[in-house]
């Protein structure tokens, strides 16, 4: 600007030349930034699930598809529903035909499904004069489980010890039935004939013998109108239910989950843990008019988790 003013004032052509050079730098800056951002392929690697409040590791892979030109000073931000989900990752150089990686840690605060919608790639290369950015669509869904805390496992009201049949499922024992293959299943359990017949992978489920059973029942009905305190109480109840489930499953119980909108049949093991946590992660509020998916049994194996709202806001407690 100053050079331009001085050039116009003096009419000195060498100053005009300098002005033209400075303007050319700006134009070149735009073109080079564009070149740096072109031909980049970005991938994200992260676990499909996480616990609320627990940091998870996200790996970013940037591949420069250009055959000769390296890309410098690239800033990549992962985008979520509300914009950037964390600090950007910086890549000083991605050589031509090479892949560079960066890693960041991020903790989701809220349970439930979260969508990482894409990336924002930006650069101020080559001179740091202007920032050029673009957004790339790359959707990844992640389910954030409720936060789980270490909790004592209260004995359910009554026990089911001695029942003839158990619904605790384990990898070995009598075959309980077939179900669809899920990620993490042992390949040895694949029932190939059934898979061929169905056209989809099917795995065997086994019954475990002589296990203890418990059903976590959570009442997800909230009064209308619903306040923030009601919702907070439900979240506390869900966290508690999740902690109980994990504790019981860890203690070898067969655990089931029922709510007014969900029912997870009783089973044991890490897969069941995932099912229950996923159901709790997705649990939405409903009204008292909605019946339980399966009416709570009077049986002693049930643990009821009901959000209880105290009179004074902010001091909700939950009684199991």
């Amino acid at each position: 600007m100053v050079i331009g003013l001085v050039a116009v004032n003096t009419g000195n052509n060498l100053l005009y030349l300098l002005l033209a050079w400075l303007l050319s730098l700006i134009v070149a800056s735009g073109a080079l930034s564009e070149m740096v951002l072109r031909g980049l392929e970005i991938r994200r690697r992260m676990p499909p699930t996480a616990f609320a409040g627990d940091p998870l590791t996200v790996d970013l892979f940037v591949t420069n598809l250009k055959s000769r030109v390296a890309s410098y000073a690239i800033e990549i931000t992962d985008l979520g529903a509300g914009g950037a989900i964390d600090k950007p990752c910086f890549f000083l150089k991605v050589a031509a035909k090479k892949t560079a990686t960066a890693r960041y840690h991020h903790a989701f605060c809220d349970r439930g499904p979260h969508t990482l919608s894409g990336f924002r790639i930006a650069t101020r290369f080559p001179f740091g004069l202007f920032e050029k950015s673009r957004e790339l669509l790359a959707t990844t869904d992640i389910l954030v489980y409720p936060a789980v805390s270490r909790i004592a496992t209260p004995p359910p009201e009554g026990t089911a010890r001695g029942l003839a049949s158990s619904t605790q499922l384990s990898r070995r024992g009598e075959v309980h039935g077939l179900r669809e293959h899920r990620p993490g299943d042992d390949r040895r359990d694949i029932h190939w004939k059934a898979s061929a017949r169905r056209g989809r992978l099917a795995v065997r489920e086994y019954e475990a013998e002589g296990c203890r059973r418990v059903t976590i029942a959570i009442d997800n009905a909230l009064p209308t109108p619903t306040t923030a305190h009601h919702r907070a109480a439900l979240e506390v109840a869900i966290r508690h239910a999740a902690s109980l489930s994990v504790a019981y499953l860890g203690a070898g119980y067969a655990v089931g989950l029922i709510s007014r909108t969900t029912r997870i049949p009783m089973a044991t093991g890490p897969l069941q843990r995932g099912r229950i946590l996923a159901a709790l992660a997705l649990l939405a509020k409903t009204t008292a008019s909605a019946p339980f998916a399966v009416p709570p049994l009077a049986a002693a194996e049930q643990v009821m988790v009901i959000p209880r709202i105290e009179v004074h806001p902010g001091s909700e407690t939950v009684s199991p």
Binding site: L92, P113, G118, L137, R275
Partner: protein, 713 residues
């Protein structure tokens, strides 16, 4: 090379180029220039952590104070603020280079180097500035890129973190390929800058500005003349002006031209000067074709209607690029008929003895139209002898110290002549035949210089010959004056122009013939032949002329590029384009015929090309859209059902924003009362359960919900 090494090298190259920009202008005295260079070179060894502030904390402050004092003193003595500022800048550059540690220090060095370059451009710079500028552009591009990367490293990693030092010291970040690519970028930037340079409108307002063009001074041409003052007139190769002559394309066509500058009427005690009573020509202004023509009227000439055509007939147009001389006189081939000085607020004016002056800053470009043909001898012989009083007083003046034998000699030489023309011719011939030319001069002592030259020394240079002829002519009643300027010049075959050098300085005589005007006589013998006659075709001479061509182009297209030239350039471009469009030129006609003949094929090829481009664009867009995907994982069968349902909603204007989760999207549609939103809420929940919860949800229910959603309107 490590990143730090590359950055340091690029920064020093840039500083070096900026230093050269100052050096070529001569803004710094030689001793200071050497000190400055020594400081830059010494600073190379002040790498962190052994920088100057760490080694000698007080030296930096002392250096700044010394620089400030130095600059202040320079300003007091020279009065040139910019030249004084350059001294302070030199100190600061060296200081910052010795204390460079982080990106911030390098950024300051870059800024100081740029200011140095700006300072250099404010001073007059020759064509060598172009090379320096190109070097600066390349080095600055490297330095700026590396500076930016270094700053990013320091900001991202942390200035004092060991990791920063590790990255900066790393090899492989910057390599030969980087320098090659950024050099290409620099050249592209340079080319674009040149294009932009010609395009930026020249609207100089010229407030608070005075040029600092260095003035050329040399022996040979003087704004005033004293005989016997020289020990020796040296050959001076400095080009003082370059002249493009209209219609002349080779040395063979070039006439002997006298570049008239100053003229003197009064001679006394061996010195020539202008008297206050000497006649001055009048100027008539006339605007033609958006240009202001200024016609000098010599002698008693009057401006007549229709004079423009008569005065412009048989004239030679000269475009003159005049270097800054120590005089404000405008040169032109004798005798100038009109001057055109465009793009300048100052206008030429006349002084005594038909000189044309224009106050200016530095170099100048202007056009002169001259009548170079001498009137026919018969016309001159028939010219009347009666003179106006002012002419008689000024141009027949003889000082009392002229000895009688000089006057007697004049009468003797012209005893057979019956008119002023023959008298002038006789004197000129006698001088050139009877006296010798030499540049070796001997002081006349107390003797009258012309008398000493004519009767004792009998050898002299052009000023003696011209002075002697003027005095001899006046002694026999022929009105004459001494003229100073340049003669001839060196023809430049590369760009078809005449380069007039300091060594071409010359003196000659103008004799006045009433009714015909002033006529040039040159009594100097052929010993002082100009470079035209002594054309040197050696390799070095050709190389010198080639270098001078580059200088002219620099002067013509950069230094003297003004609004007039810009408009002319645009007009030429416009004319070329219109000529091409209308098929005026034969190549354009040929091209048009070819296009007509192959129109169908070209149309087909064009259509195919457009189609290919469209398809390529579509594919590229699709590829870009789909390009970065996270690693794929098994999808549940409900995902496509959900996606199709959302896409259908999108077509109705209820699509899901990128920042919305499926549940938020469904709730938003519900809140907005969009039909079918309740079905979408249920479908979203099924989608979550299947996709994220891994549950086996009823597909048939999902399909049913999708159908409900599709029907809802």
């Amino acid at each position: 090379m490590s990143f730090a090494g590359a950055h340091k090298l690029a920064t020093y190259l840039m500083v070096g180029a900026a230093y050269l920009a100052i050096w070529v202008t001569g803004a710094l005295p030689p001793v200071l220039a050497v000190l400055y260079l020594a400081g830059i070179l010494a600073s190379w060894f002040f790498d962190p952590p052994r920088t100057l502030p760490e080694r000698m904390p007080r030296v930096g402050i002392a250096l700044v104070i010394a620089g400030a004092v130095w600059a202040g003193a320079a300003y007091l003595f020279s009065g040139n603020l910019i030249a004084a500022g350059m001294r302070l800048l030199a100190c600061l550059v060296v200081l910052k280079l010795m204390g460079r540690k982080s990106a911030r220090d390098y950024r300051q060095v870059v800024l100081l180097a740029f200011l140095t370059l700006v300072g250099g451009s404010v001073f007059f710079a020759g064509a060598s500035y172009a090379l320096v500028f190109l070097a600066y552009v390349i080095a600055a591009t490297w330095a700026l890129i590396l500076l930016y990367l270094r700053r990013e490293i320091e900001v991202r990693v942390g200035l004092d973190q060991p990791a920063t030092a590790h990255v900066i010291a790393a090899r492989g970040v910057i390599g030969g390929r980087f320098f090659a690519a950024s050099s290409l970028v620099s050249l592209s930037i340079f080319a674009f800058a040149i294009a932009l340079f010609f395009t930026i409108p020249r609207v100089g307002v010229g407030l608070f500005y005075g040029s600092n063009d260095a003035q050329i001074t040399f022996a040979g041409f003087h704004d005033g003349e004293k005989l016997g003052g020289h020990g020796r007139i040296r050959e001076n190769p400095t080009v003082v002006m370059r002249v493009e002559l209209a219609g002349i394309t080779s040395a063979r066509e070039l006439p002997r031209l006298y570049w008239r500058g100053v003229a003197f009427d009064h001679y006394e005690r061996g010195s020539w000067s202008r008297s206050d009573s000497a006649p001055a020509s009048r100027i008539v202004d006339l605007r033609r074709h958006h240009r202001l023509f200024r016609f000098p009227l010599y002698g008693t000439e009057a401006w007549l209607s229709g004079d423009v055509r008569r005065r412009m007939a048989d004239t030679l147009r000269q475009t003159i690029y005049l270097e800054p001389l120590g005089t404000d006189v405008l040169f032109g081939a004798a005798m100038p008929a009109a001057f055109v000085v465009g793009g300048s607020r100052a206008r030429p004016g006349t002084a005594h003895n038909d000189e044309v002056h224009m106050i200016r800053d530095g170099a100048l470009k202007y056009t002169v139209y001259s009548r170079i043909n001498t009137p026919p001898p018969d016309l001159l012989r028939a010219a009347p002898t009666a003179l106006p009083l002012a002419y008689r007083t000024a141009y027949l003046q003889l000082p009392p110290e002229i000895p009688d034998r000089v006057i007697a000699l004049a009468r003797d030489i012209t005893k057979n002549a019956t008119n002023n023309y023959d008298r002038a011719l006789a004197i000129s011939t006698w001088l050139s035949h009877n006296l010798d030319y030499t540049l070796e001069m001997v002081s006349p002592g107390d003797r009258e210089p012309i008398d000493f030259f004519l009767f004792d020394r009998k050898r002299g240079h052009c000023e003696y010959f011209a002075s002697a002829m003027t005095i001899l002519a006046r002694a026999v009643g022929v009105p004459a004056r001494n003229v100073n300027g340049f003669v001839g010049g060196e023809w430049n075959e590369y760009d078809q122009y005449v380069a007039v050098r300091g060594g071409d300085a010359h003196s000659w005589v103008e004799v006045y013939f009433p009714g015909a005007g002033w006529v040039t006589f040159d009594p100097t013998p052929a010993g002082s032949l100009s470079r035209l006659a002594m054309r040197d075709n050696g390799f070095l001479a050709k190389l010198r002329r080639l270098a001078d061509t580059l200088k002219l182009r620099w002067r013509k297209w950069v230094i003297a590029y003004d609004l007039d030239r810009q408009m002319s350039l645009f007009r030429r471009l416009s004319n070329t384009l219109s000529a091409t469009a209308s098929g005026a030129s034969s190549p354009a006609k040929g091209a048009a015929r070819w296009l007509g003949k192959h129109a169908r094929a070209l149309g087909g090829a064009g259509a195919v090309l457009v189609a290919v481009l469209l398809v390529a664009g579509f594919l590229a867009r699709r590829r870009r859209r789909d390009q970065p995907r996270s690693p794929s994982r098994p999808r549940s069968p409900i995902a496509p059902i959900y996606r199709r349902a959302v896409a259908r909603l999108g077509r109705r204007g209820h699509g899901r924003a990128k920042t919305q989760t499926p549940r938020e999207h469904a709730e938003a549609l519900m809140a907005a009362g969009v039909p079918g939103a309740d079905a979408l809420i249920e479908l979203s929940e099924l989608y979550y359960r299947a996709e994220l919860g891994g549950e086996a949800v009823p597909i048939h229910r999902a399909r049913e919900l999708a159908r409900i959603l599709a029907r809802a309107k």
